[in-house]
């Protein structure tokens, strides 16, 4: 008997007991819908976290000054200004480093017309934009020439721009930082909250030299607050960390017995942990949902066993007119498989639909991938074959005489 004919017969058998078939299928529908929904929500959450991480910039190292000791008295990192712009330039030359951006920052009052706003002023180099993964919404970033000549130009964060300029386009307008006029050359694209909850869009970026000389003067001219370093690749982070340490020890003339007067922190490591956690959560949700698939599978096995018992006589007749072991086995296996596949299909549609609805209602990214649906289907098919085989084999192994005699 060819496969197409058997599929036809299996379909017919399922149609006879519509209610029973429907209820059995419901187990599969709910199971697949739950798996698809959970996986898509989980992956959505994962992507949300990854986006936040990516907004920080990729493979970043943070170099902080300080951690000095003076006559046995140890200071925490950042207490002493030991890093300079020259250090940043030297680090940028290292083979494992893509770019290094020195940063000085402080808080200052901004004025434009009648508006005023207080925010963080960040003095840095043009490299900062690429290292920190900052995108420009309008205008441009300041240039190396601005840096060299300490021009009064500024790039505004989205939130700052809105607070100071309202609906106006700030580009090309002049405003004041600590009463000194600055020209707005660009506005940054919004990034949202950082992992720690800080609003990354409330800031003003100006050339490092301008900040050092005109806004945030301090007692150590030329020193910087900290440094953001971007490694060449994710694999080279440890190498970069070691090279930076060696270089800075050399530049700061630290002898072997002395502690570092700086600290290098790998920001990628934190991001990796957050990302892994999200991934584990996504899979765990999927795994819990797949338990319902398993329960649905047991339901199928149960119904198929009942069906085989009910149709013992039919099986006997089929054997008497020449059905082989394989023909009977295939027929019942296909019935189980069809419940699974039809249920799986409906479940997938239902799962995708509710995932989409959730994404619309709670404004949360929901990811539906083909591989996810493929996975759910593979699982469903395995369940169909696994739980369908025993009843089907039971049917096919009946003795024709006994099956025919069965009332």
């Amino acid at each position: 008997m060819n496969l197409l004919t058997i599929i036809g017969e299996a379909f017919q058998a399922l149609r006879v007991n519509r209610l029973r078939t429907g209820l059995t299928m419901l187990g599969m529908i709910i199971g697949v819908a739950a798996v698809v929904l959970m996986l898509s929500i989980g992956q959505g959450a994962q992507i949300q976290i990854n986006n936040t991480i990516a907004s920080m910039g990729s493979h970043l190292l943070l170099v902080l000054p300080g951690a000095t000791s003076s006559g046995g008295l140890r200071f925490g990192s950042g207490t002493v200004k030991t890093l300079t712009a020259g250090d940043a330039q030297a680090i940028a030359e290292l083979p494992s480093v893509e770019a290094a951006a020195p940063v000085v920052s402080g808080i200052a009052q901004l004025n434009y017309g009648a508006n005023n706003w207080s925010t963080t002023i960040t003095g840095t180099t043009p490299d900062y934009f690429s290292v920190g993964n900052w995108l420009i919404e309008s205008g441009s970033i300041f240039s190396e020439a601005d840096l060299r000549s300490a021009t009064r130009v500024a790039v505004l964060g989205k939130v700052t721009a809105e607070n100071l300029f309202g609906n106006e386009d700030p580009t090309g307008k002049t405003f004041r930082i600590a009463n000194k006029p600055f020209l707005v050359v660009g506005v940054l694209a919004a990034k949202g909250q950082s992992l720690s909850g800080r609003d990354q869009d409330d800031n003003v970026l100006i050339p490092l030299t301008t900040a050092q000389r005109q806004i945030l003067g301090n007692q150590f001219p030329g020193s910087i607050g900290h440094m953001l370093v971007q490694g060449k690749s994710a694999d080279m982070m440890e190498e970069a960390e070691m090279e930076i340490t060696r270089l800075l020890r050399q530049r700061h003339r630290i002898s072997d017995r002395m502690e570092n007067d700086f600290t290098v922190r790998n920001l990628t490591a934190i991001a990796a942990v957050a990302s892994t956690t999200a991934k584990v959560m996504a899979w765990m949700l999927g795994a819990i949902a797949s338990i319902s698939l398993l329960v649905g599978g047991i339901g199928i096995m149960n119904i198929m066993l009942v069906s085989v018992t009910e149709r013992t006589r039919e099986i006997g007749i089929r054997m008497a007119i020449g059905a082989s072991h394989r023909a009977i086995l295939t027929q019942f296996l296909l019935e189980a498989l069809m419940i699974c596949i039809l249920g799986g299909l409906t479940g997938a549609v239902l799962g995708i639909g509710s995932a989409w609805m959730i994404s619309q209602i709670v404004d949360m990214p929901v990811v539906i991938t083909l591989s996810m649906i493929g996975l759910a289907f593979a699982f469903v098919a395995i369940i169909g074959i696994f739980f369908g085989f025993y009843p089907a084999n039971k049917a096919a192994s009946l003795k024709p005489v006994e099956a025919l005699r069965y009332e």
């Binding site: 008997m1 197409l4 008497a320 394989r326």
Partner: protein, 244 residues
């Protein structure tokens, strides 16, 4: 010698020292055996029309099941068309049932969910034919048995006689050498019974199909050319009679 010569010279069925015992429930160490058939020896030639008679419990149904390859003997040999089928595997037996034997049962045993046409076509499907082709064959056969206008009826929409005709068509569809009919008229009124028996007689005489019939009734048995009587699992009478 070709295969054809072989089948012509040999009997269609040869049964030697056939025994059948059922193992009833009991302790595993001391199984209780119930022997149903004792040393059956039988030769049936192609084209014969045989009636097997006997009281209930005489073993006639068991013999029928073994001859129909629905059951296997405990000991002894059974050659069907020169091939020892007594101990074939389940799938080989299925093949024999499909190609060489047609069954007609007392309770018709049609598949309830299928039309008359599909019931007749099913053995062809198991033989590997596609659905379209098999329906064409089935239709021809149903028209020959006078059921041309009932092809799309379901078994429960047909009378007993019509159902049995469908069952006979199903038995014939693979052109078997042998038809086994287990009390085919048991559920039918006497007029329909005689119509069905006339059909069997025609099949035997016109197409040369061997028929083995199990029955209680003498007038049904009288359609056959040879009568085998069983009692307590043994053949007590085996006589040919003149054709009517």
């Amino acid at each position: 010698m070709s295969d054809k010569d072989l089948t012509q010279n040999q009997p269609l069925i040869r049964v030697e020292n056939l025994c059948k015992a059922y193992q009833l429930e009991g302790h595993a160490n001391q199984p209780i055996c119930h022997q149903v058939l004792f040393d059956i020896n039988l030769e049936i030639h192609s084209g014969e029309f045989i009636a097997i008679m006997g009281q209930s419990g005489s073993g006639k149904s068991t013999l029928m099941n073994i001859l129909g390859c629905l059951d296997t003997p405990t000991s002894g040999n059974y050659w069907l068309a020169g091939r020892n089928v007594a101990y074939l595997s389940n799938d080989e037996l299925a093949h024999v049932r499909n190609h060489s034997i047609g069954f007609v049962f007392q309770g018709f045993n049609l598949l309830k969910r299928m039309t008359a046409l599909d019931n007749v076509a099913t053995p062809l499907l198991y033989a590997g034919m596609n659905r379209k082709e098999s329906r064409k064959h089935a239709l021809t056969l149903l028209q020959q048995t006078g059921l041309g206008q009932f092809t799309l009826h379901y078994p429960n929409q047909l009378s007993g006689g019509q159902q049995q005709r469908v069952a006979i068509s199903r038995a014939l569809v693979n052109q078997p050498q042998l038809i086994l009919a287990d009390e085919p008229t048991g559920n039918l009124d006497s007029q329909t019974s005689h119509e069905i028996m006339t059909l069997f007689k025609q099949l035997n005489e016109n197409q040369g199909i061997s028929i083995i019939l199990v029955t209680h009734e003498d007038d049904i048995a009288s359609y056959a050319n040879r009568l085998i009587r069983l009692k307590d699992g043994r053949i007590i009478q085996d006589k040919n009679k003149c054709t009517r």
